[in-house]
Amino acid sequence: MLDILIPHYNAPADLQMSLESVADQTWRGKKRVVLFDDGSTAENLAQVEKIVKDSPLDIELMRSPQNLGRPKARNALLQAAEARFVAWLDAGDIWYPEKTEHQFNAIFRHHFEGTDIDTIWVSCHYDWQWVGRRRRKVVQNTAGNQLKDLFEGDKLRAYLWTLLGTKESFTLTSRFDERLTRLQDLDFFLSFVRAGGRLVSAGTDRPLCCYFKSDIGRNAHEIRQCYDTIFAKHHAALLGHGRGFARRTRAKADFVAARFARNNGERFGALGYQLGALLTDPHYAAYRAKKFVLKG
């Protein structure tokens, strides 16, 4: 049995799209959706209840009277999971029909090869869709140094909705850090790998899900602070790859915050983060500036 854990907050239309993608899965085992409504307005909650009622899926709807935030919602979902296997999805993102089938095959393949399946998460390539732009495939490379690759965020990215694993594997690490209003996925992935867990590939070159990305309404300062919390928490692991690497990782975090600021119309804020990156790692900042000039 598979439990699919979905947090939701005031986005019933997005939720419906996600649930439809779950219902369309080619995998034929028993699945249950555990949906946590994180304090949506009465009107949105009524829509969610109608969606749940009309859905062909087996859905358990949990409700919070007030908005607790994503990490608390995810902890509540993890606690409510009863199945041996667990997968995640965020309202507004979608799975392609063969996602769970490929990921279960990967689990069985690893089991057959002697791996302890309670120490692996099966990830997958995914499509990345900025609102109003073309979809592009993002490759999850699980072959390298996963801790380093997660910090860098180029070859391997921390997104829960790419994963399928045993419930046991998701409790290998501690709970979602409730201080992290953003980026709790990254912290969760880092903790998992540091605890001896390993991400494995779904074994297909095709993307298996799609992330609809938008920076709008997301606070750059909040994101940069969450990065600082994560860097402090995983300080030893970060420094383990050298001081230069740690500097570059911090500078990259500044650039991410700058992007959020820019996309939300905070041009001076963005400039401030870029200056921060320049002071932290001038070489990396120069590389980014050159890339920007050449590629735009």
Binding site: M1, L2, R28, K30, F85, F104, F108, H111
Partner: protein, 235 residues
Amino acid sequence: MELCFVLGHRNVLLPKHLDTQLFENLLGAKHRVFLMPWYSRNAGRYYHERLLSVEEDRRLETAILAIEVEYQSEEIPVMIFPSALESADDAMHLQRFLSACVEKLGDSPLVVEPVVLNIGEADEDVKARLLPVKGMQYKPLRRIELKNVAPLDGRCQINMFSDKMADELVGYVRRFGLVLSRKRAQDFIVNKLDGFVTEELYFDLTADDAQLKRLSDIIFPEILHGLVNKPKRKR
């Protein structure tokens, strides 16, 4: 756990042209063929016999895990063992496999529904090959005749005929100084016979060797001629 085993002769149960969906229709709405892509990309029913060799690796544990995870409680996983009834050795392998299943399942009871597909032997002879296993029980034997399964009939008969004629085609091309594997020979015959079914020309299951020889005399030259005159593939 309830399983369904399909037993019979290799020349009927070969995977070629017996696709999973048709097989599920044949057995019933609750029955679903157990696929094993984690074992091999091409795995499926053809590889169920691979489960009978359980000494060295974890294939049996993985198969049980996959069945437990992928099947709803009301569904019955189907496994096909084309040669399990062909010899006493094969019957013993099946018995060993079932014993191992019982052991791995622990307290969960195992019930097996045996289905035989189109074999001439009496039920008592078939039951004698299904050796008893401690801790599991067999449901009553179910018999399915190909001739009674209209949608499958033609396709299964192609399997049967192509298997019977393959050795002869290998010998036929050898007369022209050519070497052909048995598997490839079967492919060529299947391709040829497929056209018969399309034209609603079916096979007599009781055809004897002389009749098969007359059919071979017509289609083998055509197969070879077709290959010689086949247009070159564009590079």
